[in-house]
Symmetry: C2
Subunit: 256 residues, 2 copies
C-alpha cells in the first residue's frame, strides 16, 4: 500500500515543486516505486520531469471531473522508478467547475480508494493557494510536508496552513498529520534565516526536519532540462540535501 | 484622476508584494498620494506596511461583497502619503462566495467608477493565482506590472498571464495594458539569470524595465518591522533599486 505525501504551502515560491520533484526522484533512487501527481495548473512539476504540459492526455483535470480513471493518467518519466500524473492548463478551470458539485473536495480521496496502485509513494505537488485543488490533495493524502523559506511572509503564513490542516482532519481526513516542515533556500549567513529558524523550532518543536535545503543554483537550473537534480547534477549541494531529506523522511515513515 | 497599477503574476514568490509595498512607498516619497490595495488573503501587503491583518474593519472583503463602500476601508499607514485598503483572511472565502454572483469579476471595477479618490496612484497586490481576486484587480486597473525572477518556472508562467491579460482586455477592460516586466531577485553572477534575462528581452522587447531589483536581504527583513524599505534602510541596494524602478515607471506613465 502506498504512502501518500502532499507538498503544500499557500505561500508562493517556497520550493514546493522543487521539493516534490526531487524528493520523488530520491525515493525512486532508493528503489521505491514513486508516483508524482501535479495538482497545480502552472504544470511546473509536469515540465520539471520532462513532460510537455497539455500534451499528455488524460491529465489530472480529466480525472478530477470524472472523464478518466486515475490509472489512465499515469505516464512513465525518463527517471527510473518515477511515474507521474501530469497537470494541464485546464486544471485552472477545475476550481470553478468543481465548486458547485457535491463532494467536490473529496474527489481525489474517492479515486484513491478505487485505484490499486503499484507504487510505494505518491507525492502530490500543490498550487500556492488553499483552493479546491489543494483541498483535494489534503483530503486524499496520509501526511503533509510543508516547505518553507526562513523569511517573514512565509512565517506569517504557517498558521493559515495549520488551521486548514486542522479543519481537513476534523472533516474529511481524520488520519491526516504533518510529515514535517522542510526549510528551503536556507542561507546560513543571514540573521533573518537564523531568527526565523529558531522561532520555527520553538513553535513547532519536533516538526522541523533536521535536514535543510541550501540555496543552490543547480536546483533552479535542473527544471529547464526537465530533469530532477539527481539526474542533472548528482554532485551538487542540492542533490546531496534532497537525498538527506529523503533518508530522514523514509526513517520517519518507516518508524510509524 | 488616479493611475491604477496591478502587480500580478500567478507564479508564487516572485516579489509581487515586495514590489507593491516598495513601489507605493517610493511614489509617496516622490510627493504622490498613493493607495495600496491588498487583494491577497495572505495579507502580506497589509502586514508589510504595519497593519495587523483582520484588525482593520472593513477590509477589502467587506467591500467586494458589498457590505461597505471602498472609501470606508481606507486607512492611513505610518508612511507619509501612503494609505492602504487592508486584506483580511476572510478574503479567501470571496473566491467561492463571488463565484455564483452575476458580474463577479467586475466588482472592483464598478466600485472604482463610484468612488472619488484623492490619490494619484492606486497599487493593487495580487495573490499567486489567476483567480477571481486577481481578475477583479485586472478588470479595475489601467496597467499591470509583472514581477518576475529570472528562473525557468517563472519564464514558463509568463505565457499564462499574458493570455489572461488578453482575455480580460477583450472582455471587461478594453484599455488594459502591460506597464512592464520587472526583474526581481536578480543575481548577475549566475548564467541562468543571464539566459532568462536575454530570452525575456528578446520575446518581450520594450516591456522589460531597464531597472532590475537585485537580491538584497534588507528587502526580506523590512516586512518583519512593518516598514517599506525606504523607512527600514534607505541606504540599502533594495531601496536604491525600488527608487530607480519608481522613477522609470513615473517617466513611462507621464509620457503616455
Ligand atoms: N534550494 C533552492 N535553491 C535555489 N533555487 C531554488 C531552490 N528551491 C527552489 N528554487 C527555485 O526557486 C523558485 C521557486 O521554487 P518552486 O517553484 O519550487 O516553488 P513553489 O513553492 O513550487 O512555487 P509556487 O508557489 O509558484 O508553486 C524556482 O525557480 C526554483 O527553481
Ligand atoms: N529583491 C529581493 N531580495 C531579497 N529578498 C526578496 C526580494 N524580493 C522579495 N524578497 C523576499 O522573497 C520572498 C518572496 O517575495 P514576495 O512575498 O514579495 O513575493 P510574492 O510574489 O508576493 O509571493 P506570493 O506569490 O506568495 O504572493 C519574501 O520573503 C520577500 O521578503
Ligand atoms: Mg510550485
Ligand atoms: Mg505576495
Amino acid at each position: 500500500v502506498a504512502d501518500w505525501i502532499a507538498i503544500a504551502n499557500q505561500k508562493g515560491g517556497v520550493g514546493k515543486t522543487t521539493t516534490a520533484i526531487n524528493l520523488a526522484a530520491a525515493f525512486a533512487a532508493a528503489d521505491c516505486r514513486v508516483l508524482l501527481v501535479d495538482c497545480d495548473p502552472q504544470c511546473n512539476a509536469t515540465s520539471g520531469v520532462g513532460i510537455l504540459p497539455g500534451a499528455a492526455r488524460p491529465s489530472l483535470y480529466e480525472v478530477l471531473i470524472g472523464e478518466a480513471p486515475l490509472q489512465d493518467a499515469i505516464v512513465q518519466t525518463a527517471f527510473d522508478g518515477l511515474d507521474a500524473v501530469p497537470a494541464s492548463p485546464d486544471l485552472a478551470g477545475a476550481n470553478v467547475e468543481l465548486a458547485l458539485e457535491h463532494g467536490r473536495a473529496v474527489r481525489l480521496r474517492g479515486l484513491r480508494g478505487e485505484t490499486a496502485l503499484p507504487h510505494d509513494f505518491v507525492i502530490l505537488d500543490c498550487p500556492p493557494a488553499l483552493d479546491l485543488l489543494t483541498l483535494n490533495a489534503l483530503a486524499a493524502t496520509d501526511t503533509v510536508l510543508i516547505p518553507m523559506h526562513c523569511e517573514y511572509f512565509a512565517l506569517e503564513g504557517i498558521s493559515a496552513i495549520m488551521r486548514t490542516l486542522d479543519s481537513v482532519k476534523a472533516s474529511v481526513n481524520p488520519s491526516l498529520s504533518v510529515e514535517g516542515i522542510l526549510l528551503t533556500m536556507y542561507d546560513r549567513r543571514t540573521t533573518l534565516t537564523k531568527q526565523v529558524d529558531s522561532e520555527l523550532r520553538a513553535h513547532f518543536n519536533g516538526l522541523v526536519l533536521d535536514t535543510v535545503i541550501p540555496r543552490n543554483v543547480r536546483l533552479a537550473e535542473a527544471p529547464s532540462h526537465g530533469k530532477p537534480i539527481l539526474q542533472y547534477d548528482i554532485r551538487s549541494k542540492g542533490a546531496e540535501s534532497y537525498l538527506a531529506a529523503a533518508r530522514e523522511i523514509l526513517a520517519r515513515v518507516r518508524s510509524r
